[in-house]
Every structure is written in C-alpha cells, then in structure tokens.
C-alpha cells in the first residue's frame, strides 16, 4: 500500500508539474488546484501505470477533486490517500480475479 501511495504521489506530481515532496496522503486534490481535465489525465496515468480500469464519470463528480464516484465502489477520491486506496482495491480485485 505504501508503494502504491508513493507511486500515486509521483504520478500526480508529474501530471500537475509540481514538486512531489510536499504531497502526503492527506493532501486534497482540490487544494492543488486540480481542474476536471487534470483529474481525467491523472486517472488515465494511474490506469496506464497499474493496468487497471477506474470507473470514473465526470457527470457523477460534484466538482473536480471532490469526486464521489457513486456506484463505482470507489468511495471518495478527495485526497491522495483515498485515491491510493481505490487504486490498491482495483489492483487487488484484478489479482484475485
């Protein structure tokens, strides 16, 4: 899980072109100024890296970075920690399938 969290941090930093060091599991995407297109680019990068499919629909997101991916079983995608947990869950589902 720690390894996944670290990779999620790296990916978000790379996509947003910001330094990775200040990013923690508690960092909120909204506080990083993430806009809707940034978010789908981050999701795409995560899918590519971990070979998973993240069922995110922009129409279910009240605002960028506060996505409550209802029905997708992903829970909140507000913080880096929550995203890492969702990614870990999808990786686990893949390997147990």
């Amino acid at each position: 899980m720690e390894a996944v969290t670290d990779e999620v941090r790296q990916i978000i930093a790379k996509e947003l072109k910001i330094p990775v060091e200040p990013l923690t599991p508690d960092t909120k995407l909204q506080d990083l100024g993430v806009e809707s297109l940034d978010l789908i680019e981050i999701i795409f990068a995560l899918e590519e890296r971990f070979d998973i499919s993240i069922p995110y629909n922009a129409n279910e997101a009240p605002a960028a970075g506060t996505a409550d991916a209802a029905g997708a079983g992903l829970g909140k995608l507000e913080t880096i920690g929550q995203i890492a947990a969702a990614v870990q869950g999808l990786i686990d589902t893949k390997t147990s399938a």
């Binding site: 806009e35 809707s36 297109l37 789908i40 999701i43 795409f44 995110y56 629909n57 922009a58 129409n59 279910e60 997101a61």
Partner: protein
C-alpha cells in the same frame, strides 16, 4: 438588407430520414438512443448511441459517386437533396451558379480514418485505398453536395466542433442577408460512430451509460449521435415570388468565444452569444417564446446553460419554454446544431413546442420550464437555437414565424 427564410428542410437522423419520421419522433419524445453496431467494437465500454439506421448508400448513389464518399458526406448529400426537394425549388443553371453551400462538421471522415489506420497499424498493410484523402477531408461534405446538386456559388465547410452546424447556417444567413447569394444550402453532417472515436469520447469520461436526460437531476452524461440536417435558405423576396412554403424567417445570428476552458462551457460566453443573436435580429429578450437548448445532458453543460439563460432573459427565463432535442437525437456533434435548427423551424411552423424527453426529476440547478416529456401546442413567434462547442465556441440562431 435582405430578409432570409427557410423554405426547405432535409434530415438524415437517428429517428428517420424524412420529416414525416423525424418530427413526430421529436414531438413524442421517442428516443433513438439504444444499442449500436460498429466494426471493431470489442473493447468499447459505451453500449449506447443514437445511430442512423436503414440508410442504404448503395440504393442512394451510383457506384462511381460512392467511391470517394465517407458516411458523413453521404449523409450531407442525401439531406441536401431532400432539402431542395422539400423546398420545391427548381435549381436552374443560373440560380445554381449563385447558390451557396455552407456545411458544418466536427470530426468529418471518421469511418474512413478508422478503417485506414486499422489497415495500416492493425493489419500491417503497406498501402491505403487511393481515395482515402478525398473521403476523409473535412470539406468533403460541402464539396459532395456542390457536385451532386451542381451548386457553383460560395462553398465551404465550418469546423467549430459541436456548434459547426449552427455556425454554418448563421454564416449562410448573413451571406443571403447581405446579398452575396440568393439561395443557400446550409447545415451540418457527422458520422462519428467508429470504434476509435467512441473510445476517444470514453476517455473524456462524459458519456452516459444509460441514456441522455438533459436538465434532469438524474442526468448522467451525453450520448453520441450522428446524421445530417440541411436547410434551404432563401432570400425572402425570391421565395415569395415563387410562392414557396416558408417554415420560418431567420432573424439573427450571434457568436462568441469563452477563451477559457477547452471542455467546460462558460455561462458568460453562452450569454454573450445569445445577446449577440438578439442584437443582430434587433429583437428584445422578452419577445422569445421558445429556446431549443444545447442541453447535452452533462452535469456541467446544463447547469452552465441555465445560468446563461437566467442572465440573458432575467425573470422571463422562467416563462420561456426551453427544451433539448438531444434526449431523442443524441449528440450529433457537427450535425447537432443543424438538426436542432430544423427542430426549431418546425416548432415555429407547427406552433408546437417539442419536449425534453427522458426527463425524470427537476434539478434546482436547472430551474427552467424544460417542457418535460410532453409536447405543447403553444404560440411560438420567436425561437432561439443554442450551440456551445468544446473549445468555447458559441453560436446562436434566432428565428420567427413567417
């Protein structure tokens, strides 16, 4: 300045390729959204679209003519033929010399491109069909119409994504108004349902998995469509002199750019385009009875369009009937604005306001009279048609009872 009227309408649509099929489906809210069939669809997640069915190009074109034609250009030509026929216009050689052709497309020759690249990268073929370029080029719709009907006046395509059909009709209207041409064939055409294009739309995360529900609280995104609508625009005196049936008069056309986000529409940009159309028409906002909305069914667009309508119409925004035809027709991208202007002209002609179909639940963010599910007989003297494209390119037409 000349006055400009609509005397002919031709459609190739997911609810049929004649006005006899098209208008009742729009009025009754019979949605064409459902399962679709495209080649190489195995890896698609999208399961629904509004696809044109029963369109047989072999029956409609000579083999030699069909060779260089992508599906989008076929749609364009068939709709243009229907518009001219519907107008009862005899295109004499002299008139054809002056007739303008202005066609909007967003993605143009996608079927050709998808097939060509599959052959090249998927099948490792070392050569492509020699007519690949004439088929896929964006201007092919306009060119094929001019060739099919022998139209030799000003002819070009307009590429403003989801507003292209509206921009095309608006530009043709301005040309007729200023006397550059007495007649124009104008509209939009799109055939964007290919595996590659749909995959690319999936990546934007805006497609609905169930259906298109514009302005409904339960809306879940947009649904891709395809088709074409072509209007026969005619200088009013020319139309009256030959005793033509007139659907509506075009009063004004307004454009603007958001200069903001590449995908999210901006209420201010949309409002400025609506105001520009009213100004162009020298009409006041309180004269408008009906707005055919852009209404894509995405969370963002419908909320933003509502804000823009309140901004432009003030207290009247709650009186004016606003409906989206995308629940029935899907989002035909470059064809959408033209299909919706066809709906708007027919609403004026038939004095009937078509509904927003698939409507489930009111959304406080879309506090408008969205004519849920059931059409209305009502006075429609002045109507507006909105198109707000990706890239922040906005186009609005205003029309009136003739």
């Amino acid at each position: 300045m000349n006055r400009v009227v609509i005397t002919g309408i031709g459609v190739v649509s997911p609810v049929g390729c004649s006005l006899e099929d098209f208008w009742p489906a729009v009025v009754e809210g019979r949605s064409a959204i459902g399962p679709f069939s495209v080649t190489r669809s195995e890896r698609l997640s999208a399961r629904i679209a509004a696809q044109v069915s029963g369109f047989d190009p072999v029956a409609l074109f000579e083999p030699k003519q069909l060779g260089p034609m992508d599906r989008f250009a076929q749609f364009a030509v068939v709709a243009a033929r229907a518009a001219v026929r519907d107008a009862g216009l005899d295109l004499s050689e002299r008139l054809a010399l002056e007739t303008a052709t202005v066609i909007g497309n967003a993605s143009a020759g996608q079927t050709t491109l998808d097939d060509a690249y599959f052959r090249l990268y998927g099948e490792n073929s070392s050569r492509l069909h020699p007519l690949t370029i004439p088929r896929l080029m964006t201007s092919a719709g306009a060119s094929q119409i001019s060739m099919d009907l022998g139209l030799k006046g000003p002819t070009f395509c307009v590429g403003t994504a989801c507003a292209a059909g509206t921009h095309a009709i608006g530009l043709a209207f301005h040309m007729l108004r200023s006397g550059q041409a007495p007649v124009a064939v104008a509209g939009g055409a799109e055939a964007c349902l290919t595996a590659g294009t749909i995959k690319a739309w999936e990546a934007l995360r805006v497609l609905s998995q169930d259906t298109c529900r514009p302005f409904s609280r339960t809306r879940s995104g947009l649904v891709l469509g395809e088709g074409a609508a072509i209007l026969l625009l005619e200088e009013r005196a020319h139309a009256l002199a030959r005793g033509a049936r007139v659907y509506a008069e075009i009063l004004g056309f307004g454009m603007s750019a958001d200069a903001g986000d590449i995908t999210s529409s901006d209420p201010d940009g949309a409002a400025r385009a609506m105001r520009a159309a009213l100004r162009d028409a020298r009409r006041n906002a309180d004269e408008v009875d009906y707005v055919n909305a852009h209404g894509t069914g995405t969370t963002q667009n419908d909320r933003s369009e509502t804000v823009a309508l309140h901004d432009v119409f003030g207290p009247d925004a709650r009186r004016i009937a606003v409906s989206s035809s995308k629940a029935v027709l899907g989002h035909g991208l470059g064809a959408a604005g033209a299909l919706e202007m066809a709906v708007t002209a027919l609403a004026i002609h038939r004095q009937t306001i078509p509904p927003t179909a698939n409507f489930e639940e009111a959304d406080p963010d879309c506090d408008l009279d969205v004519v849920p599910n059931v059409a209305r007989q009502a006075k429609v003297n002045v109507a507006m048609s909105n198109s707000f494209a990706f890239g922040g390119l906005n186009a609005v037409l205003l029309a009136a009872r003739a």
